[in-house]
Symmetry: C2
DNA sequence: ATTATATATATAAGTAAATTGAATATGCAA
DNA sequence: TTGCATATTCAATTTACTTATATATATAAT
C-alpha cells in the first residue's frame, strides 16, 4: 500500500474530482472507488474521509441527500457550483504540484550532462 | 507558488533524492536548489527543512561535515548507505503514489465511454 | 554611515490533516 | 452463530508542517 502520509493535502481534491467524474456518491462508495482505481494500493480510512466530506458540506462545496438502502442510511454527496469551481482551482494546484515534484524527482535526463 | 500543504509527506524524499543527485549539500543550498528546479514555485521554509535534516541525521540516513565559508558555518549533509537504501524505498513509494494519484485524477480518457 | 539584502542555521509555538481505535447498526453467507 | 460486508460517526493522538523569532556575518545600495 502506498504510504498514506503522502495523501496529506490531496484528499479534498480527490473527493471533489471523484464527485465531478461520477456524479453523486456516498462515503463508503468513495473509499471503494479509490481502492478500485488504484488496484487496492490506496485505502481511504473513514476517519480521514468523513471529516473531509463534512468540511466540504460546511463550506458549501457539496450538498447531501439522505436515502435508505436495505435499512442502512446512505448520505449522497454532490458538487455545488461553488464546489465545481473550487475543484477546478484545486486540480490546477495539484497539477502544478505534480509538475514541481517531477522536476525535483526526475531531473531531465541528458540535460545536465551536456 | 504551489500550495505548500501539498508537500506534506514528500519533503524527506525530496531531500534524500537531492543529496543523491548532487552529492553533499548544505541546508541553505537545498532550499535554493528546490527554488531553482521549480522556477520559484516551491519554497522550502527553514522551519520545515532543518528539522527534517536533523531527523535524517538522527536516523543515520545522512552524515554531516561542518565547514567555514566566509565566516559562516556550513553544515554539509551527505547520504549514508542506509540513507541510499531508504531513498530508494521512498522513491518507489512516491512513484506508486504519483501513479495512484494520476489514476484518480486523470481517468483513462475514452475508456469509460465505450 | 546606515539600510537593505543575501547568506547560514536553529528552535519554539501553533495548526492542519491525517491515523488509530472504538462505537453503532443491519444484511447476508458460511 | 460466527464472520464479513455495508454504512456512518467521533474522540484521542500523532505527524508534519507553518509562522515567528533569534542569532550572526558579508556585501551592495543610498
Amino acid at each position: 500500500m502506498v504510504s498514506t502520509n503522502l495523501l496529506k493535502g490531496s484528499l479534498q481534491t480527490i473527493v471533489l474530482k471523484l464527485l465531478k467524474e461520477n456524479g453523486r456518491m456516498y462515503g463508503y462508495e468513495i473509499t471503494k472507488k479509490v481502492e478500485e482505481l488504484t488496484a487496492g494500493k490506496v485505502i481511504l480510512t473513514y476517519g480521514a474521509l468523513y471529516p473531509v466530506l463534512h468540511k466540504l458540506e460546511a463550506e458549501g462545496s457539496v450538498v447531501t441527500e439522505s436515502e435508505n438502502h436495505k435499512n442502512r442510511t446512505r448520505i449522497y454527496y454532490s458538487l455545488t457550483r461553488a464546489g465545481q469551481s473550487i475543484m477546478k482551482e484545486k486540480m490546477k494546484e495539484m497539477k502544478e504540484f505534480l509538475d514541481a515534484i517531477s522536476q525535483i524527482l526526475n531531473p531531465s535526463p541528458g540535460f545536465n550532462h551536456v
